[in-house]
Symmetry: C2
Subunit: 137 residues, 2 copies
DNA sequence: CTCCAAACCTATAGCTTCTGGAGCATTAGA
DNA sequence: TCTAATGCTCCAGAAGCTATAGGTTTGGAG
């Protein structure tokens, strides 16, 4: 028997976020106490921990919803779960590549060492004039 | 004399986004035609291109607002512009590091090759059981 | 048993950065 | 002059929460 606050402390998911997940249908509406407060059991705790972990890995609510649905059917083949994870890995890698491009760009931009005036500041000029860029964003 | 559509085509910023930037105060409300349509000149085009470029680099609206304000005073020292860019570079680098951690984690998770059932799928088990993780997120 | 602070409840709004739609007006070219 | 493309305003929605207001319940101390 956990209150919503217990659940929050044990999973690291904030209280309003738990209620939000309930509203989004990621977790079922739990039983209530006589005074209408939410009361959870172990399975809900595990489910929430699963969600938390998947969110930490950057999976979308939609993907998590799919994975949770899959996990309800242990007998089915797991190709779909595999696909979701692989797909996410690809987007993570793309994001990394894009950010690394920005990193290189910004490194060039901050070559300005802050000891002249805005008029010839490289930061400002680089932003104003795209043709100064090395890459093609 | 550009219409909002011209401006959009020339800068790659979508029409509703231009109106949104006007509302947010990033660009001034331009003159209007007799029929109340927005009419822009070259300086607005350049300003919008600046914004577009900065957004592509991932700078927040707030940072861009600051940089635009700075660029209005070419005589001032550019230390502040430099600071904004450097700070952003740091957050970009942090984001890269974090995503690389996720990448490693996901690589382990997708070791499941999709040819068994959900019941013993590594993806599902890894998400359910945090203790299987190598790192400490 | 009584009291009170902490925790809980619902409902609603706000954050960020746009994006899209409805319903109507203007513009530019044939 | 006609009409398709474009423009206008206002409003809602997306993602994933977070916060606030105003009220109720709970659990432990005295």
């Amino acid at each position: 028997m956990y209150s919503i606050g217990d659940l929050s402390r044990r999973t690291g998911v904030k209280v309003p976020t738990i209620r939000y997940y309930e509203q989004m249908g990621l977790i079922a509406a739990p039983e209530r106490s006589e005074g209408n407060q939410r009361r959870y059991e172990k399975p809900e705790l595990e489910r929430l921990a699963f969600i938390r972990h998947a969110r930490d890995l950057g999976l979308s609510i939609e993907s998590i919803r799919d994975l949770l649905a899959l996990s309800q059917h242990p007998e089915r083949p797991c190709g779909e779960a595999d696909r979701i994870a692989k797909e996410h890995l690809i987007t993570v890698r793309e994001k990394i590549a894009q950010l690394q491009k920005l990193e290189r760009e910004l490194e060039r931009v901050v070559a300005c060492n802050g000891d002249h005036t805005i008029g010839d500041c490289y930061v400002i000029r680089a932003l104003a004039d795209h043709s100064m860029c090395g890459s093609d964003h």
